[in-house]
Symmetry: C2
């Protein structure tokens, strides 16, 4: 074996990013499985296959780790929705019911996928754990505003109109309710009916010119 | 001390009912706190202050206990909604928006109270636990149908009309979504807006003559 070259600065930074990312993913898995009580820096490090020392270099405390994991989770979810919205065929100014249908399908689907189910575990844990709740609430509020804005953008909604704002808010409530319903059983048929009905209702919003 | 009289048959039955009830309540608390893995007949008996033998007399296995606890939970929730619906001022045939408002307030509130939050823990646990899921799904389906029927009754809805049926289904989806939103933060203002907006939409259902 030849002696290995000292790792370059770039390679070190790259490895550090990979470690950080693995720790964040392992945090969410650990939170989902065992709640905040069992989510220690050591437990997460073990799950991520990272040494405890390396984990503590990135995240000195449990709270800093959980906070970063939630931020990452929300950032990824927002990014995913943003790119889906960008791919919509509607474009700005479209107002046909079938275009609304496409947006509603996207938003409802966004709340019925696996990450939403994972989030549910964390929500349930936070409902009886004040320190987890304090970490989640501000991050969730920012996330909620971004999802709302992206939904408005996808629908080209005129947010100066109160009824339009309220219908957009309800759209996300319906989406969360459908997501919750989909946790234990396959609700695709019901979801498809809901998309049709909700699209008709949402077609009544005001659009930007 | 005088020797105690042998307990009468009626008193025995009464005591047995109280014991059963305490076990069922303790089961739900235990499920919420530690999930199915930690919900053993012994753990529930200890929490209920009942001997392990007495607990096993009522519920020989953990599954029989959990199943009964969920049935009891759903039965109580249905009974609570039934009596609330019976107290509504709407009566049969009422169609004014403010009457719809009253029904919507009732239904949305029903999904944002403490038992709903407790149920959320159990749902989250069931999403990663097949045996708990198998216990919940049929009981939940029956419960869902009853809540739907009671909502239809409260609104005097004509269930032969497809759009009416779909709006009723969506009403429960909105209610669940609002309930989920209310787990971590106080959403009363948003909930009040949602009641107004949804009542306007729901005023478009068909009524029985």
């Amino acid at each position: 074996m030849v002696e290995s070259m000292p790792m370059s600065r770039v390679a070190q930074q790259e490895r550090s990013k990979v470690t950080r990312r693995r720790l964040l993913e392992a945090s969410l898995d650990t939170l989902s499985d065992v709640g905040l009580a069992g989510t220690t820096v050591s437990a997460v490090a073990a799950r991520a296959g990272v040494s405890r020392g390396a984990a503590q270099h990135h995240f000195p405390t449990r709270d800093s780790l959980v906070e970063a994991a939630l931020e990452e989770f929300f950032a990824e979810r927002t990014q995913q929705l943003r790119s889906s919205v960008a791919k919509l065929s509607t474009g700005s100014g479209a107002a046909a019911v079938d275009a609304v249908d496409e947006v509603v399908t996207l938003i409802f689907g966004f709340f019925s996928n696996r990450p939403f189910h994972a989030a549910l575990h964390i929500w349930a844990a936070a409902s009886t754990d004040d320190s987890l709740r304090e970490l989640i609430v501000p991050a969730e509020a920012r996330y909620g505003r971004e999802v709302y804005q992206l939904t408005a953008l996808a629908l080209n909604a005129d947010l100066s109109d109160q009824h339009t704002r309220r219908l957009l808010g309800l759209t996300l409530d319906v989406a969360r309710g459908l997501g919750l319903g989909s946790v234990l059983v396959d609700t695709r048929k019901h979801q498809n009916d809901a998309i049709k009905t909700w699209s008709r209702i949402l077609d009544g919003i005001k659009r930007n010119d």
